[in-house]
C-alpha cells in the first residue's frame, strides 16, 4: 500500500484535520444534496456558490476565517432569493445569470484587494478552488456545530420537505407550510455550500453537493438508502482526493502538489459517469428514451 499512502500521510496533523473536515463537509453536502437534487434546485445551489464566493473573498480580505464568509454570503443569498421568489429558478434564466455576474464581479474586487493590500498570497486559489490543507484546527468546532445544526434541521423537516418536493399542491393541502419549509431548506443549502467550499473551493462546491446524490439517486428507488449511498460516495471522493493530492507531491518531479479540489471533482465525475452507465444498463432501455422522459429537467449552466 506504499504506493497509495505516501510516508507521513496519517501522522500529519494537517492531513488529519483535512480528513476530518472533509468527512463532515461531505456528509452534510450529501444529505442536503439529496434533497437539492430531488427538488430540482441544483441551480439554486449553484447560484448560491456565486454569492458564497463573494462572501468568502470578503472574509479573506477582512481577515476572518473563510468559512464565516462562505456561510454568511450563502445565507444572505438564500434570503435574497427567497425574497424575490427565485427559489425554483432554472438555469436558463438570463436575469439571474446577469445579476449573479455582479456577485462574481464583487469576488474579483475582493480577491484583487486581498492580493494587493496584504502580504498573504493565494487568496484566489484558496477561495475559488479550496485549500483544505490550510484549514486551522480551530475552525473544526465551527464546522462541527454548523454541520450538527444542518443535520438536525434536515431530520426535523425531512417528511414535509419530501412531500413538498414531490408536489407543492399535495403538501399545501396536507397543511405543510410549504414556503417556510422551503426557506429553511434554502438556509441549510447555503450552509452546505459553505462547508463544501472550504473543502473544494466555492466555485467548485456544486460538485460535492450535487454529484454524489445524483449518482446515488440513479440506482436506488429508496430515498434514505439513496442518501446513505450519497454519503458514502461523497466521503469516498473527498478522502481519495485528499490522499491523492497529498501523494501528488511525490509523483511530480517538480514537487508541485496538485490541488485537492481537482481530485475530488475528478472522483465525483468518475462516480457519476459510472453510476450513469449502471443506470442505463439496468433499464435496458436506449439512452435516448430515458433522457426523453426527463425532458422537464432543465439545464443549468456553469
Amino acid at each position: 500500500m506504499h504506493w497509495l499512502f505516501e510516508p507521513g500521510l496519517f501522522s500529519n496533523h494537517t492531513v488529519r484535520t483535512a480528513l476530518l473536515v472533509g468527512l463532515i463537509a461531505a456528509l452534510v453536502s450529501a444529505v442536503v444534496g439529496v434533497f437539492t437534487v430531488l427538488r430540482g434546485q441544483s441551480f439554486a445551489g449553484h447560484a448560491l456558490t456565486d454569492v458564497a464566493t463573494a462572501g468568502g473573498a470578503g472574509a479573506f480580505l477582512a481577515g476572518v476565517a473563510p468559512i464565516i464568509g462562505f456561510v454568511g454570503g450563502g445565507v444572505l443569498g438564500a434570503g435574497a432569493m427567497d425574497a424575490i421568489g427565485v427559489q425554483r429558478v432554472k438555469g436558463r434564466d438570463i436575469a439571474t445569470g446577469v445579476v449573479l455576474g455582479a456577485a462574481t464581479g464583487l469576488s474579483a474586487l475582493f480577491l484583487y484587494l486581498s492580493a494587493t493590500s496584504s502580504a498573504s498570497t493565494g487568496a484566489t486559489q484558496m477561495i475559488l478552488f479550496g485549500s483544505i490543507f490550510t484549514v486551522q484546527p480551530s475552525t473544526l468546532p465551527v464546522v462541527a456545530i454548523l454541520s450538527g445544526v444542518v443535520l438536525l434541521t434536515i431530520a426535523f423537516i425531512a417528511r414535509p420537505l419530501l412531500l413538498s418536493s414531490l408536489s407543492i399542491e399535495l403538501a399545501a393541502t396536507r397543511g405543510v407550510r410549504v414556503r417556510v419549509v422551503g426557506l429553511v431548506f434554502m438556509v441549510t443549502l447555503a450552509v452546505s455550500v459553505g462547508l463544501s467550499a472550504i473543502v473544494i473551493g466555492s466555485i467548485l462546491s456544486t460538485a460535492l453537493l450535487i454529484g454524489p446524490p445524483a449518482s446515488a439517486l440513479k440506482v436506488v428507488n429508496r430515498f434514505w438508502l439513496g442518501a446513505a449511498i450519497a454519503v458514502v460516495l461523497g466521503i469516498g471522493a473527498t478522502w481519495a482526493g485528499i490522499v491523492f493530492a497529498y501523494d501528488s507531491y511525490y509523483w511530480i518531479p517538480s514537487h508541485r502538489a496538485l490541488p485537492v479540489s481537482f481530485f475530488v471533482v475528478a472522483f465525483v465525475v468518475v462516480e457519476f459517469a459510472f453510476f450513469s452507465v449502471v443506470h442505463r444498463r439496468r433499464r435496458g432501455r436506449p439512452a435516448t428514451a430515458i433522457e426523453d422522459s426527463s425532458h422537464h429537467v432543465e439545464t443549468q449552466w456553469h
Binding site: I94, V99, G105, L111, A115, G211, V268, V297, E298, W301
Partner: protein
C-alpha cells in the same frame, strides 16, 4: 489613460465589445445562455493548459472553446441532464486550476484569466484577434436569416428545409471563437456577463431586431469602455466593473420595460 501602452487595451476592448454585442444578441435570441456560460470555462482550462506547455494562450483558448462548443452541440439533441452538465463544467474549472498549479504561474495570472485584465491582449496578438473577430462577424452576417428563422420558429424553418443542425453547430463555433477572444480581457467568469447583459437589455428596450442589434453593440461598447476607464482610473480589476455594469444595465432596462408596459396598459 490614453497613453501608448493603453492603445492595445482600447483597441482589443472595442473589438471584443462589438463581437460580444453581435454574438450575444443571438445567444439571447436562441436562449443559448447555457453555452455562453459553459464555453468560457472550457476556454479557461485551455488557456491554463497552454500556459503549462508553453504554447500561445490564444491557441489554448480557441481549441478548448471549440471542443466545449462541439460537445455541447453533440449532446444538445438529447436533452441533457442538468447534473451531468454542471459536473462537466466544474470539472473544466478544476482542470484549469490543476494546470495553473502545475505551471509556475503566480496569482495575478490566475486572477487575470478568471476576472479579466485590460492588458490581456499583446500587440502581437492584436492582428489575429482582429482577423478572428471579423471572421465571426462575417459568419454571423452570412448566417443571419437562418439563424433568426431557426431561433424564432424552428418547425417552420425545418419545413422550409433549413438545416437546423448545421446552423446550430456553425453558431456554436462562432460563439466559441468569440468567447476565446473575450476571455483574456474580461475573464472567464465574467464573459457571460458581457455576452448576455447588454443584448438582454437591448432586447428589452427595442422590439425591432435590427435596432435591438445596434443597441446591443452600443451597450456592449459602453460597458467595455466604461469598464476599461474605471479599471485604469481606480486600478481595480476590469471584471468587477463588467459584472456590475452588466447587471446595472440589465436591471435599468428591466425597470424601464416594466414602466412602459404599465403605461401602455393604462
Amino acid at each position: 489613460m490614453f497613453s501608448s501602452f493603453m492603445t492595445n487595451a482600447w483597441l482589443s476592448g472595442t473589438i471584443v465589445a462589438i463581437l460580444a454585442g453581435v454574438v450575444g444578441f443571438f445567444v439571447v435570441l436562441r436562449a443559448a445562455s447555457f453555452a455562453a456560460h459553459a464555453i468560457p470555462n472550457g476556454a479557461f482550462a485551455g488557456a491554463a493548459g497552454a500556459n503549462l506547455v508553453g504554447l500561445n494562450p490564444l491557441f489554448g483558448l480557441i481549441s478548448f472553446a471549440i471542443v466545449a462548443a462541439l460537445s455541447i452541440g453533440a449532446t444538445s439533441r438529447r436533452s441533457r441532464s442538468d447534473v451531468a452538465t454542471a459536473l462537466s463544467l466544474v470539472l473544466m474549472l478544476a482542470l484549469g486550476a490543476a494546470f495553473l498549479t502545475l505551471s509556475t504561474e503566480y496569482e495575478p495570472a490566475i486572477n487575470a484569466l478568471l476576472f479579466g485584465e485590460i492588458l490581456g491582449v499583446s500587440s502581437s496578438q492584436l492582428l489575429p484577434v482582429l482577423l478572428l473577430a471579423v471572421l465571426c462577424v462575417v459568419a454571423i452576417l452570412a448566417l443571419y436569416r437562418p439563424l433568426v428563422f431557426t431561433s424564432v420558429a424552428p418547425d417552420l424553418a425545418a419545413a422550409k428545409g433549413v438545416n437546423a443542425t448545421f446552423v446550430e453547430i456553425s453558431f456554436l463555433l462562432v460563439l466559441a471563437l468569440a468567447t476565446a477572444l473575450t476571455v483574456p480581457i474580461v475573464g472567464a467568469l465574467l464573459t457571460f456577463s458581457l455576452m448576455i447583459g447588454p443584448p438582454a437589455a437591448a432586447r428589452l428596450l427595442s422590439k425591432h431586431p435590427a435596432r435591438a442589434l445596434t443597441l446591443s453593440i452600443t451597450l456592449a461598447l459602453a460597458t467595455v469602455w466604461a469598464s476599461i476607464a474605471c479599471s485604469f482610473e481606480f486600478n481595480l480589476p476590469i471584471g468587477f466593473f463588467v459584472g456590475t455594469f452588466g447587471a446595472v444595465l440589465y436591471l435599468c432596462a428591466r425597470v424601464s420595460h416594466a414602466r412602459r408596459a404599465v403605461r401602455s396598459v393604462a
